[in-house]
């Protein structure tokens, strides 16, 4: 068991809380940095996808997990970022500028999408964001002069001035850099007053207001941040796929993102990464498992859909804290061994009660 003896407030503020953190995350970082040397190209590509989806997952986690704003339209922001990257790369714009513009434009769209959030809550907000998602998707398809419409658009390789990024390893390095920076930014926001304001809004809007938190400002900020992160992820996605079309940014992609944060564990930064890892590796497992199943099941086109649905249901029913929650339980079991009690993380059984009042 680890007992942390605290002697200064710094220890509660800094990101790495104790030696163990420093060691393990340092090891992880070192492993990631050296990955191009010891990882096969196929797995490197998968890792790139994990990172791209993690960035978008961070955005949605911030919005839904930390601020409690339920958004079913985040793929729209991803689409905006992706198309900005596609259009600017055709002009040879240096990537840092592309990234900044993608984030900026997505953030602006996020602010607009966030306007209903100031008036409606819960499922109504979900429906509003869903509607925006459809409208943006249709808009991307109709604005053919810029986006090439439903036929899609090719994305040229990213450039940093004179250096063209055209190898898997260099693309991986760029992705890793962007992911690390995004994660640091999000962690910084979460440990300061802005992050606390988000959590306050999630848990009790009324008392958040009484504590001086300007609801409209922070909700809009949350949407803008989430959209900016999704835009960054979208830009990287566009460069990776090298060809994008509006249908990739529709309702199914939005639900994938939601699936990711729910399965990863709502309300934790780790959850975004675990969820992304899960989302990218699940199809691999399905492909592997196909050979062991009878042909009727294994080769059927609906298998992926079925497995996704079953996994989602299983997680919501049996592991509502998600993958990160399960990891916490396992870690606590080892930390407290042999004193772990079965009901330690059990949610109190609650009865459904209406929040409505006539």
């Amino acid at each position: 068991m680890r007992f942390i003896f605290k002697t200064s407030y710094q220890q509660d503020i800094q990101l790495a809380r104790h030696g163990g953190h420093v060691f393990w995350y340092g090891l992880l970082l070192w492993g990631l940095v050296t990955a191009p040397w010891w990882l096969q190209e196929y797995w490197l590509t998968q890792l790139i996808f994990v990172m791209i989806y993690s960035i978008m997952g961070l955005g949605l986690m911030l919005l839904a997990g930390f601020t409690g704003l339920f958004s079913i339209g985040n793929a729209a922001f991803m689409g905006v970022g992706a198309y900005v990257a596609a259009v600017l790369s055709a002009h040879g714009t240096p990537f840092p500028l592309t990234l900044a513009l993608a984030a900026g434009l997505s953030a602006l769209v996020g602010a607009v999408v966030g306007l209903p959030a100031l008036r409606v809550k819960g499922i109504f907000l979900g429906i509003a964001t869903l509607s925006f998602g459809f409208i943006v998707e249709e808009g991307l398809a109709r604005w053919e002069s810029v986006t090439g419409g439903n036929a899609g658009i090719h994305v040229k390789a990213m450039v940093f001035g004179s250096w063209k990024v055209d190898s898997a390893a260099s693309f991986y390095a760029v992705c890793l850099g962007v992911t690390v920076l995004s994660t640091l930014f999000v962690l910084n926001v979460l440990r300061s007053s802005t992050g606390r304001a988000f959590v306050a809004i999630r848990d009790s809007e009324v008392s958040a207001q009484s504590m001086g938190i300007h609801l409209a400002y922070y909700k809009t900020l949350s949407f803008m941040l989430s959209a900016a992160l999704a835009g960054v992820g979208g830009a990287l996605y566009a460069h990776k796929m090298q060809f994008i079309s509006p249908e990739q940014f529709g309702i199914l992609q939005s639900i994938d993102l939601l699936l990711m944060v729910v399965i990863g564990g709502l309300g934790s930064v780790h959850g975004a990464f675990l969820g992304a890892l899960f989302l990218i590796t699940l199809p691999q497992f399905i492909t592997l498992g196909k050979d062991y199943l009878p042909a009727v099941i294994g080769q059927a086109p609906g298998l992926q859909s079925l497995v996704y649905g079953l996994v989602l249901i299983a997680f919501v029913m049996f592991e509502p804290m998600g993958l990160y929650g399960r990891w916490l339980k396992i870690r606590t079991w080892f930390e407290l061994f042999p004193f772990y009690r079965k009901g330690m993380f059990k949610r109190q059984k609650s009865f459904q009660k209406s929040d409505r009042l006539k």
């Binding site: 407030y9 710094q10 509660d12 503020i13 930014f185 910084n188 926001v189 440990r191 300061s192 007053s193 802005t194 992050g195 606390r196 304001a197 959590v199 306050a200 999630r202 848990d203 009790s204 009324v206 008392s207 958040a208 207001q209 009484s210 504590m211 001086g212 938190i213 300007h214 609801l215 900020l221 309300g267």
Partner: protein
């Protein structure tokens, strides 16, 4: 001479057909403990909600430190120096006690979003000074033991204290306490009485509270206002108000002439 900190003049609010608060007028002086009493449904919490701007009055005037409060947005009230606790505890359930209290310091922040995203040294310094202030409140209310516990797992009495602590973290001049002793046992209520007295004398904060427990009211209040059905019945010291006939009637019902119901006793046994 104490100045008037908060004044309500002919304050009224109507919800649909219900007149919840009807021409209520009172003044709270700086440094006093002013209590609102009255039966359930009298409109006391509604008055609080009007002061903290969760509702807007349909008529009448509210002013705080001479400034009009009628149009102030709800989130500016804390910055103006008014803090409150809630009747049904409104804490941030999925955060620790410490995080709840740190949120209470929100009005005193000086760094903006961009500085926080980059976690500049100014942000770090602000975090440390915020933590220091919160620790002072924790010491004041003896919450050290619960610092890192999730609020959702705390017993009711401790949650009330955490709500009080969170309100104190905003460094208010006026503290609105909504039924601070409801749900507390005798010892906890006695502690609450001491804390309210300390808040008034040591911290110099003016307290406006809604309360049902008459012993607590008598112990700490300077002045009391009795309400019933949205209207003011009486204002004065605790003893004066408690013996006011209208107040007694509101709580216990009037003295009816029941002689007609008395059984006739005949002369013979």
């Amino acid at each position: 001479m104490s100045d008037i900190l908060l004044s309500a003049h002919e304050l009224s609010v109507r919800f649909g057909g219900v007149l919840a608060v009807n021409k209520v007028s009172f003044e709270v002086q700086q440094g006093e403990v002013f209590t609102l009493i009255g039966p359930n449904g009298a409109g006391k919490t509604t008055v609080f909600n009007l002061i903290s701007r969760l509702y807007t009055p349909t008529s009448g005037h509210l002013s705080y430190q001479g400034r009009a409060l009628n149009d102030m947005p709800a989130h500016s009230v804390a910055a103006a120096g008014i803090a409150r606790t809630f009747q049904n505890i409104e804490l941030f359930e999925h955060a620790s006690v410490l995080q709840n209290l740190l949120i209470g310091r929100h009005v005193h922040r000086h760094t903006g979003f961009w500085q926080q995203m980059l976690f500049l040294p100014s942000v770090r310094a602000e975090e440390i000074s915020t933590r220091r202030k919160v620790e002072e409140v924790i010491d004041f209310l003896d919450l050290q033991h619960y610092r890192d516990t999730m609020v959702a797992g705390l017993p009711y009495g401790i949650r009330k204290v955490v709500e009080l602590a969170r309100a104190l973290c905003t460094e208010p001049q006026l503290l609105l306490l909504d039924e601070p002793s409801s749900g507390l046992n005798m010892e906890e209520t006695a502690d609450m009485a001491f804390w309210i007295q300390d808040i008034q004398k040591d911290l110099g904060i003016t307290v406006l509270m809604v309360e049902h427990d008459m012993s607590l009211v008598s112990k700490v209040s300077d002045r009391v206002l009795a309400m019933n059905q949205g209207e003011v019945l009486a204002v004065g010291t605790a003893a004066q108000v408690q013996s006011h006939p209208a107040v007694i009637e509101a709580y216990l019902g009037g003295i009816l002439d029941v002689s007609a119901f008395k059984r006739e006793t005949t002369g013979a046994a």
